[in-house]
């Protein structure tokens, strides 16, 4: 699976402070730790309070790329901030994110094509949070259709079925898992899928337990990628074990260590 490290986000106090102070060491340590723990990409988010998000994104990308070899995911609601990141990216990046709204898609799908980046498509829009699996599929169809119209290779599309907190939207969890399976039938080749894993336990008790069980269930439902905390060792062990059970890696007694040797 593709693990996107979620920790470089300005809403975390330490990160927010480091961005404000332009403290390279703090950011670089978090980047290195995530990569060492198995992150295949790093999510980069300046945070909601940043006054100069473009400047901050520029600084973050340069800082991270000094020490980390993995590609980056540019996480912002503002397309100009995303583009700032894309311009500086050394490797094939990912845009986080578009949704099913025409205006957003019209900007971000061509941008993804232009910069040869992957694109996360949230299966929601102006109409709000999707109600169920069918509603999610409707949004997904809009996104896939736009990609096909513009000639954006669907192999670079990651649909996000919108994971909601288990303590407020419990009935949605099975709908999300169903959606992961349904999305595969939308076109050939099928779009990939991604989730923001931590959302499932937002505000709930036993967060790590809920996160790792949900990840296992999502992987078994066909999930390819997740934005998550790679420093959570139990979570990473759950991901490795799930992939073993799905026959994705060859078993050996030290299978947890083997994975870390990759």
């Amino acid at each position: 699976m593709l693990i996107v490290g979620e920790l470089i986000n300005g809403m975390y106090k330490a990160v927010g402070k480091a961005v404000a102070r332009r403290d390279k060491k703090v950011i670089q340590k978090i980047a290195e730790n995530q990569v060492a723990a198995g992150a295949g990409m790093l999510d980069v988010n300046t945070g909601p309070y940043e006054k100069d998000p473009r400047g901050a994104m520029e600084w973050l990308v340069e800082t991270i790329q000094e020490v980390a070899e993995v590609p980056l995911v540019f996480d912002s609601t503002k397309s100009d901030v995303i583009e700032t990141g894309l311009r500086l990216a050394k490797k094939k990046a990912m845009i986080n994110s578009a949704n099913s709204d025409e205006e957003k898609l019209d900007i971000l799908v061509p941008m993804a094509k232009r910069y040869n980046a992957s694109l996360i498509g949230l299966t929601m829009g102006k109409s709000g949070i999707p109600r169920d699996k069918n509603h999610r599929v409707e949004h997904a169809v809009k996104i896939v259709t736009k990609c096909q119209e513009i000639g954006f290779d669907v192999n670079g599309l990651y649909l996000d079925p919108i994971v909601l907190p288990i303590n407020v939207a419990q009935a949605q969890a099975p709908e999300v898992l169903e959606s992961l399976r349904e999305f595969k039938f939308l076109c050939d080749p099928a779009p990939k899928t991604i989730i923001g894993l931590s959302n499932v336990s937002q505000g709930a008790g036993q967060r790590p337990l809920i996160n790792r069980i949900f990840l296992a269930m999502a992987l078994a439902s066909g999930l390819e990628a997740a934005i998550m905390d790679p420093l959570d060792k139990d979570l990473m062990d759950a991901a490795i074990t799930t992939e073993l059970i799905l026959n994705k890696n060859i078993y050996c007694d030290s299978f947890l260590d083997a994975h870390r040797k990759k």
Binding site: I250, Y251, C252, D253, S254, D257, A258, K261, K262
Partner: protein
């Protein structure tokens, strides 16, 4: 119609056997094994930088269970391992020699570690091709013998074996200290193969000095089982499993000549035909199957089988051009 091509993200590691003067040894040649970025011989899907090699097997003690047809080509040298090794290289053009220290086994002569070390030194002086050194299979004795042998051959970058899941520490430490490559053996079990490689690398041993012995069965005696294990392991290597990304070594001669179909005379089994070609054919057929499975190094015995196998390898590699 477009040919559907696989694209792999991983590749097999490259192992170098033999050290020339430049590398601090006394070999006249080095062998590189592995480095494949595609399934065996599928050149259009990725690179296969090195051709498989055949090592000829020498025993440190006169074999008692070899049939006449196998003894015949070496009847003048069977009692003298050094002369035997020289004949393999000078007459039969062996690219490598593999010396099996069978005589150090407590039940087969119980030669000492010092005896073995002396023999290896003599062989290294007499032939200048890269050397494979195998213990007798008695773990306790091998730990003593191979440690001494490893030291005696220090700097020559030999390939020494075998290490197993239950007995790998001593040999790994020796090979690490003396700069040799190691054979990691597993009993036709891909999970144990992977685990053994992890245990060896956990001691700080470099990945690119490990060769996998999956343990094969000959034609008629489990060859297909070995094939399927090698195929699975190679496929895993090509999608990035570093703990299975090592070149393969197959003990073809040892296994093929166990078979009664290789050994029996035509008098004993007239329906099997003449034994002169039959034995060498049995060995060659086993070799061919292992090559198709991805074998990088073959240890073989009969000169005719060796010769035909080399022709087969040339034919396969021709398609690369």
């Amino acid at each position: 119609m477009d040919l559907l091509k696989e694209s792999w993200t991983g590749k097999v590691s490259e192992v170098t056997i033999g050290a020339t003067e430049k590398d601090g040894g006394t070999r006249n040649s080095r062998i590189k094994a592995g480095g494949e970025a595609t399934l065996p011989y599928l050149f259009r899907e990725g690179d296969m930088p090195h051709r498989p090699v055949v090592a000829m097997e020498v025993l440190d003690t006169e074999p008692t269970d070899w049939p006449k047809t196998l003894k015949e080509p070496f009847k003048d040298v069977l009692k003298d391992p050094v002369k035997w090794a020289v004949k393999c290289v000078e007459v039969h053009k062996a690219a490598l020699v593999s010396i099996k220290l069978m005589g150090t086994h407590p039940d087969f002569g119980n030669k000492t570690a010092d005896d073995a070390a002396k023999l290896v030194k003599d062989i290294l002086r007499a032939v200048k091709v890269p050397l494979i050194i195998l213990g007798s299979g008695n773990e306790e004795k091998d730990n003593v013998v191979l440690a001494k042998v490893s030291e005696a051959a220090k700097g020559e970058k030999c390939l020494i074996g075998d290490a197993t899941e239950k007995n790998y520490k001593t040999l790994t430490a020796s090979c690490l200290a003396d700069g040799h490559n190691i054979i990691a053996e597993s009993p036709i079990d891909i999970n144990i193969a992977k685990q053994t490689n992890i245990l060896i690398t956990e001691m700080g041993f470099p990945v690119d000095r490990i060769v996998i012995n999956p343990t094969i069965g000959s034609l008629g005696y489990g060859m297909e089982y070995a094939y399927s294990i090698m195929e699975r392991a190679r496929s895993a290597a090509l999608i990035g499993d570093k703990m299975l990304s090592m070149p393969f070594i197959c003990f073809v001669g040892q296994e093929a000549w166990r078979a009664k179909e290789a050994k029996a005379t035509a008098a004993e089994h007239p329906e099997w035909g003449d034994e002169v070609s039959r034995g060498a054919l049995w060995e060659m057929e086993t070799a061919i199957c292992m090559l198709q499975a991805g074998a990088d190094i073959l240890i073989m015995r009969h000169p005719k089988a060796v010769e035909e196998t080399k022709i087969y390898i040339e034919t396969l590699m021709k398609a690369k051009e």
